[in-house]
Symmetry: none
Subunit: 389 residues, 2 copies
């Protein structure tokens, strides 16, 4: 079982002399630390701040810098909004935007229109696309938050090799849809057709009169966890992005609530169904992004309080870590190594007495790349054969 507390790691500064883990009262985690080995994970490389996609793919055993683990912006946005992306689909991240009478962009986010307005626009666009379907592909848009949407193309022989139309600056018109090579022409034709429909729908809008697309991408060709590790894997996460990344790795996504208590209850309810449990708690990252140390401490204490229910299941191997650090003083993801706790009968207890950045830095697991964690989990589960005779 891998418990990912999103954004777990934190830092010490002049104004924040102790991290969230060091400030929180965590009797269950500290007790577990006494029977565990600690260490730290480096998600990508020293100094490299990961997004949630690479952060999680690394925890699932993929070198996040390898081409196979490259999750494009469009697919990640779709996964994050819970839009079902199938192999072969092409997804792009969309922004509603504002252009002046000359067609030059004046606001790349259309004044951050409310989500409700985004939903209304997307519904109108989908109706227009259904009435005038593009050639060779089924195209839909799915509303996100505020000005964000996802453009999804589905059909045979589609390619993600399309240039962004977002010029990333104001005073110029959106870029035309252009294929990066012959293999992208069919997809470009469908996307051009769709964009013409979209612009007709948006023509009379006061704010959202343009749409910008970037990050055309397909699901990465990741081998499934079953093929890689011979494990039936269940994903227990309250937010769509993490469910999506888990699904892209071949895990079965189990519906559950958003709080640690609800998520852990779902795990207990499905304890007999899987060999591996990916359990994801989001709120620590949100508190870090808000720069709210007290809120991050509360999340950790809530996790700690609910943890006895998970540990009662007696997982043979239990690891707690994060996909990256989200230090409250930085209000953002960061590159700092993430604390790791690993418990099993064969972990070698290393004398730690708490789960904290300080204890983790001294832990006997050492500081290793995140993508090497999964091998360690498998080894502790007795599921790896000896290398060589």
């Amino acid at each position: 079982m891998l418990l990912v507390i999103d954004g777990l790691g934190d830092i010490r500064t002049e104004t924040q002399p102790a991290t969230a883990l060091e400030s929180a009262a965590l009797p269950t985690l500290d007790g577990l630390a006494r029977r565990s080995a600690l260490g730290r994970l480096v998600p990508v490389a020293p100094g490299v701040t990961p997004g949630s996609g690479p952060g999680h793919l690394a925890l699932f055993g993929h070198d996040p810098t390898s081409p196979e683990a490259d999750i494009g912006r469009g697919v990640l946005e779709a996964l994050g909004e819970g839009v079902p992306v199938a192999p072969g689909d092409v997804a792009a991240r969309g922004n509603f935007a504002t252009a002046d009478a000359a067609g030059n962009l004046t606001d790349r986010r259309a004044g951050r229109i409310p989500t409700e307005e985004c939903r209304r626009l997307c519904a109108a666009i989908n109706a227009a696309l259904a009435a005038a379907p593009p050639p060779g592909a089924e195209v839909t848009v799915e509303p996100g938050e505020g000005h964000r949407f996802v453009l999804l193309l589905r059909g045979q022989g589609l390619s993600p090799e399309l240039e962004d139309t977002d010029p990333q600056r104001l005073g110029v018109p959106p870029l035309p849809i252009r294929a990066r090579g012959p293999q992208g022409e069919k997809t470009a034709a469908a996307a051009r057709h769709a964009m013409a429909v979209i612009e007709r729908v948006l023509a009379a809008e006061p704010r959202a009169n343009r749409a910008l697309l970037r990050g055309f991408s397909q699901l990465p060709h990741l081998p499934s966890m079953r093929d890689l590790y011979h494990l039936d894997c269940g994903a227990f996460a309250g937010y769509p992005l993490y469910r999506g990344v888990a699904a892209a790795c071949g895990m079965e996504v189990v519906p559950c609530g958003k709080s640690a208590g609800e998520i852990f209850a779902a795990v207990r309810g499905h304890w007999d169904r899987f060999d591996f449990f990916f359990v994801h708690v989001k709120q620590a990252d949100q508190a870090g992004e808000d720069g709210d140390l007290a809120a991050k401490v509360r999340v950790l204490e809530e996790v700690d309080g609910a943890l006895t229910g998970l540990l009662a299941l007696r997982p043979a191997v239990f690891a707690v870590t994060g996909d990256h650090s989200t230090p409250a003083p930085l209000k953002a993801h960061s590159w700092h190594p993430v604390p790791l706790l690993l418990h099993s009968d064969s972990c070698s207890r290393d004398g730690s007495t708490e789960l904290s950045e300080r204890a983790a830095a001294r832990g006997e697991l050492g500081t290793i790349p995140s993508y090497q964690l999964f091998g360690l989990l498998l080894a502790n589960a007795g599921r790896l054969a000896k290398y060589g005779a």
Copy 2:
């Protein structure tokens, strides 16, 4: 000088709160630690448990995951039994086995026949092979322990590209000898002929009436230690496998006994002959495999007691480590990092006061891949030039 205490590393568990190194009284090693730098070696990668072959090749400076360091099962078995394998020879690991009247396997180890019976069978087979030699290759079998033997093919243009004949399950007959491609056909023909001879000899046996082969392999094409490091290297090991791996790396194998005292005495007797000494003590691994912490402690204390005789030689660089960990609670090789002690005038004393897993995890050499140790030894010996101007 590199002293390899086989299976040195250990772990702490609920029932074994201290490792062998932490439990043993090691006045000489602890005194040496005060004048040394400590660290840890990762033989292959986090979570990966190495066999003895990869574990030692890494200590001799080879990345054990590189193709050049791939020692096949057959060659390793031959080396382990002291069968001289020359470049170009093909060796396979053999099992005597039992099949029923229909030819289906009922026991893949022939009831674990005694070694004496194995010797008798091999002698009869070799006589029959001499009387009816296979085409294109000289074929012999060499007895191992119990049901084990080695099939050795010697001749021009042989290839290890043959499939195993051991089906790894019961109720089916042995698999036929099959080449993996045209380059293996000549070898397959010789092996098929040999197998027909072997089966004629075994036909009347009550238990060992079949032979299974796996891991057809040749000596890896390893550059010699002399070519790599400009060192004359002597190997002092009491057991055949380690002598064999050392010989495959171009070391001169010096005959010696099996105990630490006998091995160290042999080193003293050859002190003027070599630039580098590989000194191997096996028994700590055996104690670990037996799950016998007390025995492992005794081995370490025996090594410590004999060590003054080695240190009196004043090796310019002296390192103590293992090829892997063999924790007593696991009764097997494991993936856990291996403690390392490095002593030289330029090692930088790091304040350690004992050789233990705990001290090693905090040591200033850090935790590095095993295959990087040899460079460190050479540097401490003043034998590496500056990289770049």
